[in-house]
Symmetry: C2
Subunit: 603 residues, 2 copies
């Protein structure tokens, strides 16, 4: 594993908070971002000592601005400033300083002048055994491409002057990075990595607010990193991410997310060190139930044709089964939500090793279902993720943890399996969760959406495995909610697949199960805008279902009200359809809101 | 006053919440945004009844998408959809529907086809006594300018087809709106108004997330509105603002903000109906003190040379004076912050009338300082804003409310006046507060900034009167803070002007007053990057001051620690300098944070 580093500006809190978080997450080094040093009450000597105590090093001091191309009259001030910063670096124990290309209005477009000035500064650094890494900012006044920064470094031809390559500055401007592989390795002094969503906006604002850790955005970090490593670069891989959310989130969590991104990037660049075993489905989902939601969910599952087939040997956990759909109701775990789920893995132990390789927190032994040695890790929001094999006769059969109740099988209502899980994420952890599930489970992005809920915008990302048997939809409010928007957490939900929604709906109606009431306005609009398959129009309205279509087919959806404080169940019949019903989410969310407020639907 | 209207999409909550908020804020009408109707559990008939009960009307139903330029085979579906929506409008009691220019990939670029299709749809509307307003979306597939939409309306030549003009769609693309004044008035069916900050980004994302109410952004709403009114348009002025923050904020507050923006816009367009009287300074600032902060502030003011000159006749309020600086310490009001301030107005009653004209909430009589009949209103965050005249002999002399303590005058320490107030705003109310202070007080924007505090980004906007004797700096976190960032509110502060910071600092030192400790790293950097005026370098470091410069001069600043829970005092000496020291804010905020955490500064 190459040396790993993180810029202090990626994290939140005091400089001390940031250093501790970087060390705890296992980084080898940090970049000290100048503003973070200035804001620190600690002297450079004490920061140096603290960094050493934490087992870190300071691999870069940055940024030094508006140096090259300065009019000669101003260059003396640049030189004086560099001397002061080199002294400071001596006190800090840092030996490399970043100069980013000048944005000064008075900067002169003259590569030879720039080279000679950088050479003069490199002389000052070399006298102190230090060196300068020169970087092209994407919005530099005259120097804004890696090719141009390299041309200046080449002309300066000084052993203490090299390049700093920053994935954001390169990839935000161009896909033309292949030439980096041909650079002399000893002239690349530093590598900064940041991803970002593909946004069409001013590059400076994009850079300052929306960067992400590698593999969280849309830039080609893998290709870029391969090119730099192909050049023979052996220095640190250092993260430099300016992100509004990370700036105000718990730095210990962010640092783990950051460190995971480097592991995932290196795996993607050089080949997985611990490949993700094939997943073949969702083995079970476990809902935490309380005195209110427990009976509601039992009644629902009964009406849906599930059989309460097993009772856990030692815990207050019921197993309900129908087809390949298995649901655990845990009455010893408090809040009603999706507290755990299990994935069918070709090799559960290997899945767990991969998760731990990617810094997933292993769950303590005593929290595992001991009897079957289920391997489990915690997702960023605390959801427990188990890996298991359900086939009878296999080595680890988690079903054996449950004593058979002897309840007889019941006629199917069409339910075949768990279709997908919808996991609402805490505001600060959305990008972390996406990277976690993607990398730990080896899933890919499927569909992203953004829609207006009654109390603000919601962002959604669905990810899946190759054959769509494992699907997870993540969602998060675009802004953290305040006093006006509901204080209750955004609900989680579990979607069951049916092969006959009419039959499933009939069974629910017969059992007197209340469904979420979809407003009549929805159906009027649906009929106005859609040519529904023959006979479906009446059915959809009568059944209280929702309808969506994509390029592959259509789907029918039924929803229960929210049970307890934060979980509900969806039943979906897919007829070729590959989506997640995001188009229906605004109406669905408003209907849930109305139901939770006890509002009545007018006739 | 022209008719006023607001689109339901500007507000948060259920449709019922939104309608109530619009009515309470005094709007005449609403636009029903289709998604808000679809999400409503109420039938169109009940919505119509509710709208009427609230004294509102539905002036527009919107949007109807992808109509014109449809391939003939698809146009039949468009026609069917329009019939359904016209039926719905009949049930709602709405008579105008908005068609926005098509974004459909299959749309045909043929103005005659578009005109004939719109004519056919207008026939359907006319049969029902309804009409269609056609709008060019800035990102329309073929029609994206107001000129183009007008050309199609002109060719269609149907009395039930007219234009909808939307300030965002026009101004986000062009400043060429003068021609609007020459349009026939009877062909402009509807006017939608939205402002926005000047952002360089994808126009669709800009429109969907960042619109603001008129005069809150950087578009020329005044010129645009003048052009539309000059054409003879007499229909509603309707707000259509998509904004991430408003979507999740209390709709009652947002609706008042929205309604205020229309009044301010009309005043700016047609001339102030109730002009803002000239302001000539900050008469006093009132701090709420508690058992901890009261003695701290008394000691500070004493050390600064203030005299406790008066005691309120009926309330636990002390008056402290020095030069033109007057500070009230109110120990009956709880939390230590700037709970009120008073402005010197040439005509306090007129100032109050203007505030009420702009929907400022007048403070109840019993909360006013009765004796002097001070007029006061509440700012968006609840801060009390008083208008008064301090000159002795004037009609209303608020100082008479205070009984003289007889304390003798003391030698000045240089303090001359209140320089400015820094008012931290609640997350949801920043743009509202800016418009409130700007419009109610007749102030102008002075300087905007954004900087990194230890726990996230902070946005700042300073506003002032012409001669800079009234200055207010507003600030807000860029994202609402969560669990990690400090739960304590962002502090407010009061800045006192001194004409001799060295003398002021000396007086504080002599009295043993503790100042905020600025880290040594700040001074090292200051000296590295700045040529300080002769002799100042040593002084600044020794005094624990901060230094900033702009194109006009320099300033010296001193800060106290936070007293009690959320207020501190700054002393500034300006030598030509016109700014607010924003460049020092990151270090200052970190130092306050360190002080509040009880951290010690290393030697």
């Amino acid at each position: 594993m190459p040396r790993t580093s993180i810029a202090t500006v990626c994290l939140s809190g005091t400089l001390e908070d940031r250093l501790e978080a970087a060390a705890a997450a296992g980084f080898d080094a940090v970049e000290i971002f100048e503003n973070d040093l200035l804001a620190s009450a600690e002297s450079p000597e004490r920061i140096r000592a603290r960094v050493a105590d934490l087992g870190l090093a300071i691999d870069l001091y940055q940024p030094f601005r508006d140096a090259e191309g300065a009019p000669p009259a101003r260059f003396e001030a640049v030189r004086r400033r560099m001397l002061a910063k080199l002294d400071l670096m001596g006190r800090l124990g840092a030996d490399t300083v970043l100069i980013c290309s000048s944005v000064a209005p008075d900067a002169i477009a003259d590569d030879d002048l720039a080279a000679s000035q950088l050479r003069a500064l490199a002389d000052l650094a070399a006298e102190r055994g230090m060196r300068i890494a020169y970087e092209a900012l994407a919005w530099g006044r005259h120097v804004s491409t890696w090719q141009h920064s390299w041309e200046i470094v080449r002309r300066a031809d000084h052993p203490a002057l090299g390049l700093c390559l920053d994935s954001f500055h390169v990839l935000s401007r161009t896909d033309d990075y292949a030439g980096i592989a041909g650079l002399p390795a000893d002239r690349i002094f530093f590598l900064q990595l940041a991803d970002a969503p593909r946004l069409s906006m001013d590059v400076l604002q994009w850079s300052r607010h929306h960067r992400l850790f590698p593999l969280q955005g849309g830039l080609d970090l893998v290709g870029f990193t391969r090119a730099v490593l192909a050049a023979g670069y052996t220095g640190p891989l250092s993260l430099e991410v300016f992100n509004d959310v990370f700036r105000q989130a718990d730095p210990h969590r962010t640092a783990v997310d950051a460190r995971r991104s480097l592991t995932a990037l290196l795996d993607a660049t050089a080949g997985d060190t611990v490949p993700a075993p094939e997943l073949s489905g969702i083995a079970f989902a476990e809902l935490g139930v309380d005195a209110q939601s427990g009976p509601q969910l039992e009644a629902l599952l009964g009406a849906l044709g599930f059989v309460h087939s097993g009772q856990h040997r030692s815990k207050p956990v019921q197993l309900w089964e129908q087809g390949d759909a298995r649901i655990l109701l845990n009455s010893g775990a408090g809040e009603a939500a999706i507290r755990a789920f299990a994935l069918e893995s070709a090799d559960p132990e290997q899945s767990a090793r991969r998760a731990e390789h990617l810094m997933a927190r292993p769950l303590p032994r005593q929290r595992r279902r001991r009897e079957a040695e289920l391997t489990a890790v915690a997702a960023p929001d605390g959801t427990e993720v188990f890996f298991c094999r359900t086939e009878p006769g296999a080595e680890q059969v988690w079903l054996d943890d449950f004593l058979p109740t002897g309840e007889p099988p019941r006629p199917s209502t069409g339910i075949t399996a768990i279709d997908h899980l919808s996991l609402a994420q805490p505001f600060d952890r959305f990008d972390e969760a996406a990277l976690f599930y993607r990398s730990v489970l080896g899933l890919r992005d499927d569909e992203a959406g953004e829609f207006a809920a009654p109390f603000g915008l919601i962002r959604t990302l669905a990810i899946r495995n190759d054959d769509r048997r494992v699907r997870i939809a993540l969602s998060v409010p675009v802004l953290r909610r305040g006093d006006w928007a509901p204080a209750v957490p955004h609900p989680q939900h579990l979607t069951l697949a049916t092969n006959d929604l009419a039959r499933t709906a009939g069974a629910l109606a017969q059992a007197g199960i209340e469904l979420l009431r979809i407003p009549g306005n929805y159906y009027d609009d649906l009929e106005a805008r859609t040519e529904l398959p023959a006979g479906l129009g009446d059915f959809v309205r009568r059944a209280g279902a929702m309808y969506d279509q994509d390029g592959h087919g259509y789907c029918l959806q039924l929803f229960t009200p929210v049970m307890g404080s934060r979980v509900f169940v969806e039943v979906v019949q897919r007829s070729g359809y590959r989506g997640y019903g995001f188009a229906n989410e605004p109406v669905r969310m408003a209907a849930h809101r109305a139901q939770r407020l006890g509002a009545t639907v007018s006739a």
